[in-house]
Amino acid sequence: MIHILLTTDPISEGYVILITGLLIVFSALITLALFFNFGLPILLYVYKIITKGKDKKVSEIKVKSDSGFTGEISAVIGAAVHMYTSEQHDFESAILTIKQVKKPYSPWSSKIYGTQNRL
C-alpha cells in the first residue's frame, strides 16, 4: 500500500490518512459507545436469566437514606480533599540555632577533691 501511495503527492496522502483516520477513530469509539449503551444491558440481562436471579444481593442493600448523595458530590469532595492535602506543606525554618546552656557548677569530677590532693 505504501509503495502505491508514495507515487502520489504526500499532501494528498495526508488527506487520505486524515479522513480514514478520523473515520476509524470515530467508528471505534462509536462501536464502544453502542456496545455499552445497548450490548451491555443485554449481556447483564442474559447473565441474570442464566443465574436465575441469584445475584440480587446488591439490590437488597438499601441506599435510600442518602439518595441525594450523587457521584458528582463525592467526586467534588474527593477533589477538595486531594487539593487540600496536596497543597499542604510544612515550611520549616532552615536556620538551626544552638543555644548555649549554662550548667550549674558540679564538683563530681573536680580534681581538687581527688585522692591525690590532701587538703
Binding site: I17, L18, L22, I24, A28, I30
Partner: protein, 440 residues
C-alpha cells in the same frame, strides 16, 4: 602526636618537591659530570612545571567551561525555567521537574568520545534512553494509568465517548500542517500526535516513526524528533490551564456554560469488570497497531476492577509508574542536547504543537455543541466538557471543572468531564495506531 604529624608532612613535602631539585634516585645514578647534571636538573624542573601547566590546560579543555556553546547555556536556562515552573506554579511538577533536571543533565558540555553523552553508544544515559528509543516506557506508563483510571462515568454515559474522538481532529490537522511545512510523512505523523495531548503516546509514536534510524523508501533517513516532540507534548500538557480557558470562553456562550447535567447513574462492579475486557477486544481489533498502548491500559484497568489483584494494581499505579516516570522524564529531558535539539525543526514542532492543542480543544468544544442539537432537555450536555476530550488526564478535566464553577458555583462538572477525558486517551491511542499502521 604533633611531632609525628610534623615529620609526616615534611616527608610528604620532600617527596613532592624531590623531582624539582633533581634529588630523585635515578638522577643521582647519572651524576657523572656536573654539566649533564645541571642539564638534567633544568629540563626536569621545566618539565614538571610545564607538565603541571599542560595538565591544567588539558583538564580545562575537558571541563564544561571550555566546551560550552551558547546552545548549551540556552538549554540549561530552559531547564531551570522548567524546574521553576514546576515548583512555583505547580504545572505538572511530576513531569516538569524530572524533565528540567534532564535538560540540564543533557546539556552539560563534554568532550565527545568518553561515553558520557546520551547519544553515545555505551554511556549509561544511552542505556536508560533505550527505553524511550524502543518505546518500552510508554506502555508501562499506560499500565499505571489504566490501574488509576475509573471508567465508570464513561460506562454510565457512553455517548460522551464521541467527544474523545472529536478532539482527535487536532492530531490529523497537525499532521496535515506538518506535511505542508515540508516534513515527510513519518515525521508529520509523529508531530501530529502532539495534538493527542498524551505524552506517552507521543513518545511511543515518535520512537517508531521519527527515530533517526528508519529509512524512507526513497533512501533518506528520517530525522530524530523524539526529543522535541516529547518536550512539546509535555510542556503543552502542562500549559493546558493556560491554553484552554480562553478558547472555552470564546466558543461557548454564557448560557451554555451554565447547563447542568444530570448525575451519572451508578455503575455496577460487574459492568466495570466487563469494560476493560470488551474495550480491549473491540479497540484492538479495529486498530491492532495500538495494541501495546491500549492492551496495557485496559490490562491495568482490569487489575484494578477485578477486585482480586489489588496488590498488582497497587504496584502498577504507584511504584511502577513512578519508576518509569522518573526514567522517562530524565532521559527525555537529557535527549535535548543542544546540538541536536536547537534546530529550525524543533521551533516548527513547537509552533505546530500549540496550534494542535488549540484545534483539538476547539474540535471537542464544537462537537459538544453539535451533539447538543440532537439531545433534548435533561440529556443535554454542558459543551465545556468537550474541551476535556484532549487527553491530558486529569488536568483538562480539572480545567473544565474550574471553568464551570466560574459561571455557576454549584455546577460540578468534574465527574462528567472525566468521561471525555479518558475516552480522549483511548482515542489518541487509536489514532496513534492508525498513523503507525499507515506509515510505520
Amino acid at each position: 602526636m604533633k611531632k609525628l604529624i610534623l615529620v609526616f608532612s615534611v616527608l610528604s613535602l620532600l617527596i613532592f618537591i624531590r623531582p624539582v631539585f633533581g634529588l630523585g634516585a635515578d638522577t643521582n645514578s647519572t651524576n657523572n659530570t656536573s654539566v649533564s647534571t645541571t642539564q638534567v636538573e633544568l629540563s626536569e624542573g621545566e618539565g614538571v612545571f610545564d607538565g603541571a601547566l599542560n595538565g591544567i590546560k588539558t583538564f580545562y579543555s575537558y571541563t564544561g567551561f571550555a566546551n560550552s556553546s551558547s546552545g548549551n547555556v540556552i538549554m540549561i536556562i530552559i531547564g531551570i525555567v522548567f524546574i521553576y515552573l514546576g515548583i512555583k506554579y505547580d504545572y505538572e511538577p511530576l513531569l516538569l521537574i524530572p524533565i528540567g533536571a534532564g535538560v540540564i543533565l543533557g546539556n552539560i558540555p563534554f568532550v565527545a568520545g568518553n561515553q558520557t553523552g546520551i547519544y553515545e553508544t555505551g554511556s549509561v544515559l544511552n542505556y536508560l534512553y533505550f527505553g524511550v528509543v524502543k518505546g518500552i516506557y510508554p506502555p508501562l506508563i499506560f499500565l499505571g494509568i489504566g490501574a488509576m483510571t475509573d471508567f465508570s462515568s464513561l460506562i454510565a454515559n457512553p455517548k460522551l465517548m464521541l467527544l474523545g474522538g472529536a478532539a482527535q481532529i487536532g492530531v490529523f490537522a497537525t499532521f496535515l500542517g506538518a506535511l505542508y511545512l515540508g516534513f515527510n510523512l513519518p515525521e508529520s505523523g509523529a508531530i501530529g500526535i502532539i495534538g493527542g495531548a498524551d505524552g506517552p503516546t507521543a513518545i511511543f509514536l515518535s520512537s517508531k516513526l521519527a527515530n533517526g534510524v528508519n529509512i524512507m523508501p526513497d533512501g533518506t533517513t528520517v530525522k530524530n524528533l523524539i526529543g522535541p516532540i516529547a518536550i512539546a507534548a509535555y510542556s503543552y500538557m502542562a500549559l493546558v490551564p493556560v491554553i484552554q480557558p480562553p478558547l472555552m470562553r470564546l466558543l461557548i456562550s454564557k448560557k451554555d456554560r451554565k447547563i447542568r447535567m444530570k448525575p451519572p447513574r451508578a455503575v455496577t462492579q460487574k459492568e466495570k469488570m466487563i469494560f476493560p475486557v470488551v474495550a480491549l477486544i473491540l479497540t484492538t481489533f479495529i486498530s491492532p497497531s495500538s495494541l501495546p498502548l491500549l492492551g496495557m491500559l485496559f490490562f491495568g484497568n482490569l487489575l484494578k476492577e477485578s477486585g482480586r489483584t489489588e496488590r498488582l494494581a497497587d504496584t502498577a499505579r504507584t511504584k511502577l509508574i513512578d519508576i518509569v516516570t522518573i526514567l522517562l522524564g530524565v532521559t527525555v529531558g537529557a535527549s535535548t542536547q543542544a546540538d541536536i535539539f536547537i534546530t529550525k525543526d524543533s521551533m516548527l514542532i513547537f509552533g505546530l504543537g500549540a496550534t494542535s492543542f488549540v484545534i483539538a480543544t476547539c474540535g471537542g468544544l464544537l462537537f459538544a455543541k453539535f451533539m447538543n442539537l440532537f439531545l433534548k432537555g435533561d440529556n443535554k450536555i454542558n459543551p465545556l466538557i468537550g474541551a476535556a476530550g484532549v487527553s491530558a488526564v486529569p488536568d483538562s478535566a480539572r480545567v473544565v471543572h474550574t471553568e464551570g464553577l466560574k459561571s455557576d458555583p454549584t455546577n460540578y462538572l468534574l465527574m462528567h468531564a472525566m468521561a471525555p477525558n479518558v475516552s480522549g486517551v483511548i482515542g489518541s491511542a487509536i489514532a496513534a495506531g492508525i498513523i503507525l499502521s499507515f506509515l510505520g
